[in-house]
């Protein structure tokens, strides 16, 4: 069985900046829940951009669920991302002019593959099920403008969106950094449980050490990134 994520000999530098990433071998198995830790500015988000196919590495290969995305064209990578990856960001995850349900079903609008994996094609039903599973079962939530939700609620809507259509990989970039401690563990527990139900691989990025214990494995970015060693 191929890995969920496998990066080899990966290097990247932002234009006119020194080398930021140099990853020899970083592998995450399918269904694994990995915590990637590193201080602010160490290149975590940049690595996720590379994994998501939004950024193009200077050299090396990235394999996602058995597909090497590095030789793909930019638009093929965009399609691949839409089909196989779910993203959750730190804050302001939602499109302000769409309702809760429309935000959740958004991936299915861009990816036919994601839409096809929704049982019976019932996008709204699936969205409601996910919201429910993430503790947003109250009926009125779905109809409220997203701008009226608390940050904790917004992050759960974002998680539901990332999970819709059963993508193989969920990538979360500091999704809990704007939450208080209680909300943080609540959110994480629900996210992990739902990832488990769907069999999704979870790559969770944060600078917050305290969360590490909840994951299968914790990786320090400094451990896999040779560029940092040189810099340090």
């Amino acid at each position: 069985m191929t890995a969920a994520i496998h990066a080899r000999e990966l290097t990247y530098a932002w234009p006119n900046k020194p080398a930021l990433l140099d990853v020899r071998d970083f592998r995450i198995e399918r269904g694994e829940r990995v915590f990637l830790r590193g201080p602010s500015g160490s290149g975590k988000s940049t690595l996720l951009g590379l994994l998501g196919g939004v950024l193009e590495p200077d050299s090396g290969h990235i394999e996602l669920a058995g597909t090497d995305i590095t030789p793909l064209s930019a638009s093929a990578r965009d399609r691949f991302r839409g089909d196989h990856l779910g993203f959750i960001f730190q804050m302001f995850n939602l499109i302000p002019y769409l309702g809760v349900l429309d935000n959740v079903v958004l991936p299915a609008r861009f990816s036919a593959a994601r839409a096809a994996r929704v049982p019976n094609g019932d996008l709204e039903g699936e969205a409601r099920r996910l919201l429910d599973a993430l503790g947003l079962g109250a009926r009125d939530i779905a109809s409220r403008p997203v701008t009226e939700l608390s940050i904790g609620q917004q992050q759960r809507v974002a998680a539901a969106r990332a999970l819709l259509g059963k993508p193989e990989i969920i990538i979360a970039d500091e999704p809990t950094s704007s939450l208080d401690a209680d909300a943080r563990t609540d959110f994480l527990n629900l996210l992990m449980r739902e990832c488990g139900t769907q069999g999704a691989t979870l790559l969770f990025v944060s600078h917050d050490l305290a969360l590490g214990g909840l994951f299968d494995r914790t990786v320090q970015l400094a451990q896999i990134n040779r560029a940092l060693e040189v810099a340090a």
Binding site: V54, A74, D78, F87, I95, Y97, P107, R109, F110
Partner: protein, 420 residues
């Protein structure tokens, strides 16, 4: 998909979007209004006189003849002798003639001596004949028929007495006070110089000039009273200023025109009104082209307002674009989204502008017709109008492609790193 996103994104910035649409709408309404007015003005100009095949006067310039005979502007340099007029009027190819005698005025309005054939044969705006709102044509020597503007401006009604001044000065000291006229008819507005004309019988012009030799007052005691003038044996004028000709058959018009222009016994000029009117319009039309250019710039200003609104929103929307990217949107989706928004704004602006323009025209048309006789054709959009409006939407799309391009570039350089 992108279309519904664009719609809802605009809905989210409702007030900015509405203001943008309103600005475009007002500018489009102006442009379309100018365009409509222009067409209407040109038509009504070309329709100042119709059904008349030739206008004949003493030999001078074509425009000069048109101006004094139809627009009552300027003066004839010479007259047409009664003999020549009669000779042409009796020609077998000529169906009817309208003699015109100018030279007097009444409180700033030109007095025109003519016959009842004027009311029968003078047409304007294609098929429209002169209509009497009150009264009827001349029956007696000192009867007067007023154009609509004259009656309204001077507050005259049927039976009012009118004193004709000699010459054209507004306050003429040489008044034909001893020969008062009586209003027997008032014409409906036509939007032509007819509205500003005081019509009297041709013979009356002769009658009031009986004791005038030139423009000076006659010597006291040498005056002839009104009844005496009326009883004068022959009021046939020696000459008239010009006359209009209707042909039995249109095809004879050019032959007749040539014959008159080559008339031996007197230097005469015959013009075809339509041709002369077009020539005159080409002169006047420059002003309305200028108006059109101004309206075009106002539309440009409206579109620039839209561009500003979209550009200023770009920064706050970078995050939104990154989110769309994360769920699989390609950069070209982002581009399309923003161009679609611009297109929607421009298109709604144009639609609202058309509605606004027609609304105003509907409201104003009866007023314009009643007061100025300007007939606005409430026709649909001409293909030319449609092309113009289409061009505005296309221009909007073009303008929208600039912020769209910037968003496209942003989205490539931002990636998913949502730096605020």
């Amino acid at each position: 998909m992108i279309f519904s996103l664009a719609l809802r994104s605009l809905g989210n910035r409702r007030s900015t979007a509405l203001l943008t649409v309103a600005a475009i709408a007002v500018s489009v309404a102006l442009l379309l209004g100018v365009q409509k007015m222009r067409t209407a003005a040109r038509e009504s100009f070309a329709n100042t006189v119709s059904g008349v095949d030739l206008i004949v006067g003493a030999r001078s310039g074509q425009l000069n003849l048109l101006l004094y005979s139809v627009f009552r502007v300027g003066d004839a340099t010479a007259n047409v002798s009664w003999e020549s007029y009669q000779k042409i009027a009796r020609h077998p190819d000529v169906a009817w003639t309208i003699p015109i005698s100018l030279g007097d005025s009444h409180r700033g309005f030109r007095v025109l001596g003519t016959t009842n054939d004027y009311f029968r044969h003078y047409h304007y705006a294609g098929e429209r004949a002169l209509v009497f709102t009150e009264g009827k044509p001349f029956a007696a020597l000192y009867d007067v028929v007023l154009g609509a503007d004259v009656a309204r401006a001077l507050g005259y009604r049927l039976g009012s007495e009118v004193v004709v001044a000699h010459g054209l000065g507004n306050v003429s000291f040489a008044l034909h006070k001893d020969k008062p006229f009586r209003v027997v008819g008032i014409l409906a507005p036509t939007g032509t110089p007819v509205d500003r004309t005081v019509h009297v019988p041709l013979e009356a012009i002769t009658a009031i000039h009986q004791d005038f030799q030139g423009a000076s007052q006659p010597a006291i005691g040498a005056r002839i009273g009104a009844s005496a003038a009326r009883e004068q044996v022959d009021l046939t004028p020696q000459s008239i200023t010009a006359f209009m000709v209707g042909m039995r058959s249109k095809v004879m018009t050019f032959t007749m025109q040539r014959a008159i222009n080559e008339y031996r016994s007197e230097p005469l000029l015959a013009i075809i009104p339509g041709v002369a009117l077009t020539q005159l319009w080409n002169l006047v039309g420059i002003a309305d082209t200028a108006l059109m250019v101004i309206a075009g710039f106002v539309v440009l200003a409206g579109l620039l307002g839209m561009l500003t609104a979209i550009l200023t929103s770009l920064n706050e929307r970078r995050r939104e674009m990154a989110i769309l990217r994360s769920v699989g949107a390609r950069p070209r989706h982002i581009f399309t989204l923003l161009v679609t928004e611009a297109g929607l704004l421009a298109a709604s602006g144009v639609l609202a502008g058309v509605a606004l323009c027609y609304g105003l025209l509907f409201a104003a048309a009866p007023l314009l017709e009643r007061h100025y006789g300007l007939v606005l054709p409430l026709t649909g959009l001409s293909t030319q109008d449609a092309a113009l409006l289409g061009a505005i939407v296309v221009a909007g799309l073009f303008m929208g492609s600039w912020p769209a391009w910037r968003a496209y570039r942003n989205t490539l350089s931002d990636g998913l790193t949502l730096r605020v």
